[in-house]
Symmetry: C2
Subunit: 331 residues, 2 copies
């Protein structure tokens, strides 16, 4: 089965370098076609030739910058790289749209271009969080929807469970609600109602509230959260890991002993940082829109975009969108 | 100036061991008196004698456990260690109340026993978050108040600023609002209003929204947040650091090379973990109640309680409560 992935070549802080380099690195994947959408000249300049057998370039003059606020004018714009990759999915010319650009813009355009799946009121961004057991948990929503209502949590729980099951093969995935305490009454009216709705759902293996410290212990397979808290938590996690690494490196280079020690430990460090590096996990899946849409981190390296391509391929090969549609139609 | 600190000897997972041991370690501090409140037999059994010159034991039969939900019955109870340490402050027999027990219970009883300061609608728990520059930021609220209104953020900003200035000597401390983006329109109606109120305040050096990744970079001296997000973020941070340390240790003990390397780096590690260890930072200050109340982590070691004692002493020696009262009266 051939997979076609349309990539916004101008999206992200290291674009078009990261998307183009990632396309070249994707040569090892079987049955993959890539469409790079963006400034043809800039893209061609970065291409080496190796990727030409499976990569097409689709020229597009305009792209939305990271700083653009979401205005009505911006959303009405017909010609930009984001809209293009999404419309390719809408027209079935691509199986997946991918961008590392402005997340808020990409989510808004995805909704307008592809529409929502049946029985989904709001889409959610689901990311994979590495945990201490060497595995990961699915964490959603990390910021597609700031004004979360109780019923949205249930939709997140269901979509997250299906993602865990159908794409990653986790049987009967455990779902937890991110809260300030484990008791069902915690977290104000919003989460009390969400707790009750999640408990009542036959389709969700809801194990109750989980607290912040359990996000990285692998206690549950799927963690549902409102988009505000999810977004802050994700950025805090990234920030703390970055700070931790910088600080540790600095500490180790204080003197000659530290330098010797860290030289010896180089391989160990690399394995360890690989496990907690978001670049390995391919970015977020926009759940709830009628298409496979992957949102990569704004600071994506070529390797991070490559992971996103790999994730997209896996999602498509597992017919995830069709299953999700079917299951959502039933509720 | 003599400082008297009343400690709930039965509060926390390692009680009464941690509070009693901490009292002994506090012998180095000048002009300090400690009142240990709890089961006299258990406390006396753990005391060594050295601390007797500055430590009194006040017997109290009952204490609130970590698992007790906050019921009306619980809050009406007249005899428990938490109420006792707080009433000692209310009666001016102690300058500071300290507990590592059930946070929700301690906050509720503190409000009922001491009352709120003028112009404070809700108290907030302020913690010190270590940051990459080797310093720390003041972060509030981490869970005293889940139902945060726009005007509460301004009270937090003001109290946090005064805490930074009067206790830690930070001149004109920079204040940021934890949000999902830096633009003033981000984060829904609650934060939009909070942003405007914080901007309008003459007494707060508000520099705007900050995102999660900046929580540990020292970009601002004071970070204000609603209690729900603050609580989750604090627990996520603790969890991730714990996970990180465990994982790194395991990685380093995989083989002989790792063991040699980590032996060489032992001192570096210790310095590093000291900087990010919450035990060094003395727990949270309950801002907004009419008394100095310190809430230590439930898992507090003797060293963590000792840091809390040190923090309490510093707060009292700087006459912080009086200054706070005075400044709040002016608004």
């Amino acid at each position: 089965m051939e997979t076609i992935i349309a990539i916004d070549a101008m999206g992200g802080d290291i674009a078009p370098y990261s998307p183009v380099k990632a396309s070249r690195l994707a040569g090892d994947f079987q049955d993959l076609k890539i469409i790079l959408v963006g400034d043809e000249k800039k893209i061609s300049f970065l291409m080496s030739g190796e990727e030409k057998s499976y990569t097409t370039v689709l020229h597009c003059d305009k792209h939305i910058s990271m700083k653009d606020g979401i205005s009505r004018k911006l959303l009405r714009e017909k010609e930009n790289t984001m809209r293009k990759v999404l419309s390719l999915v809408g027209e079935k010319k691509s199986d997946c749209a991918l961008s590392a650009g402005n997340t808020a813009a990409f989510v808004s355009i995805a909704i307008s271009e592809l529409g929502l799946l049946q029985n989904v009121a709001r889409p959610a961004i689901a990311v994979l969080l590495p945990n201490v057991s060497g595995s990961f948990s699915i964490f959603l929503d990390v910021g597609a929807n700031i004004l979360t209502k109780p019923e949205h949590f249930v939709q997140y729980g269901l979509m997250g469970s299906l993602y865990a099951e159908k794409v990653f093969g986790i049987v009967h995935p455990k779902v937890g609600l991110l809260n300030v305490g484990t008791e069902s009454t915690k977290g104000g009216e919003l989460r009390r109602q969400a707790f009750n709705l999640l408990s009542a759902s036959q389709k969700i293996n809801f194990i109750g509230n989980i607290e912040g410290q359990d996000l990285f212990t692998g206690k549950v397979h799927v963690v549902v959260s409102d988009g505000f808290t999810g977004n802050v938590v994700l950025k805090v996690s990234e920030g703390i890991l970055k700070t931790f690494k910088t600080d540790l490196k600095r500490e180790f280079s204080r003197n000659i002993l530290g330098k010797i020690g860290s030289f010896i430990l180089k391989g160990h460090f690399k394995r360890f940082t690989g496990r907690v590096d978001y670049a390995e996990y391919g970015g977020g899946l926009l759940l709830g829109v009628n298409g496979v849409v992957i949102i990569s981190h704004g600071k994506s390296s070529p390797r991070a975009i490559l992971s996103a391509i790999k994730l997209g391929k896996k999602i498509i090969e597992n017919n995830f969108l069709q299953t999700l549609q079917k299951e959502l139609n039933k509720i």
